[in-house]
Symmetry: C2
């Protein structure tokens, strides 16, 4: 498990040529302290406010986006466009092209076994969702 600490993140800020600001430090604090809750922008906004008096919601959004793009954190909800629907109800991997948005189904021969999850964690799986993001064959060929 690779989890960034507060110091890691500050170091990565510098490596990426990003400025150290009170707002960013407060956001990093909020991210690290609430790591197990997978916090959203609103929670981070509220937590950051407690630490640094002056933080705007716009800044929180811009910062989280910046951090995601710089690889400091991972944004979990990429598809901010609209919900999408699938008539295929079997377990499969969605190959989602980051450039054209095309979604290709990839049926894995040996799916992950929910039974193992239940036995080890006590979590009962009712739906699975597996997504690999990247670039499809067509987009790899096409220039730009």
């Amino acid at each position: 498990m690779r989890t960034n600490t507060k110091e890691d993140l500050i170091g990565q800020l510098k490596e990426n040529g990003l400025k150290i600001t009170p707002q960013r430090l407060a956001i990093i604090d909020a991210l690290v302290e609430n790591r197990y809750e997978h916090p959203g922008a609103t929670l981070i906004f509220n937590e950051a406010r407690k630490k640094a008096g002056r933080v705007s919601l716009s800044t929180v959004y811009a910062t989280l986006k910046e951090f995601s793009e710089s690889g400091l954190i991972r944004q979990m909800e990429f598809d901010r466009l609209e919900n999408r629907y699938d008539v295929d109800l079997s377990d499969h991997v969605n190959l989602i092209c980051k450039r054209c948005g095309k979604v290709v189904d990839y049926h894995i021969p040996a799916p992950l076994e929910p039974k193992n999850i239940v036995r080890k964690s006590g979590f009962v799986v009712t739906d699975t969702r597996i997504e690999f993001h990247g670039y499809c064959r067509d987009c790899l060929k096409r220039p730009d």
Copy 2:
């Protein structure tokens, strides 16, 4: 691969005590004909309009929700609240409780191998996302 045909879906409508309406038939047509594109509400709305003159966007949303809840189709973007962020950059399965919304990380011993995906489909994987939806230990204990 289990993909519903048009007839399957109409049959399931009846089984679930849902009425057969021109709007629903048009939406089913749109879903089935565009199955490989994983269409969103807007695309379905436009396609359904071509078939049944009179369809409103509200109806499309309501119908897709109804279909999802009845198990006819699968809604792919569950978390319609806000983006969420994770400081853990390693590949892992997010166990998301459908009742309390808690997200628990489950680190699988042997992760799926992106190389196999590339070789078979030509798709280059840059990010992976694996989610299993269900119920966590705590919620299973708790009544209602």
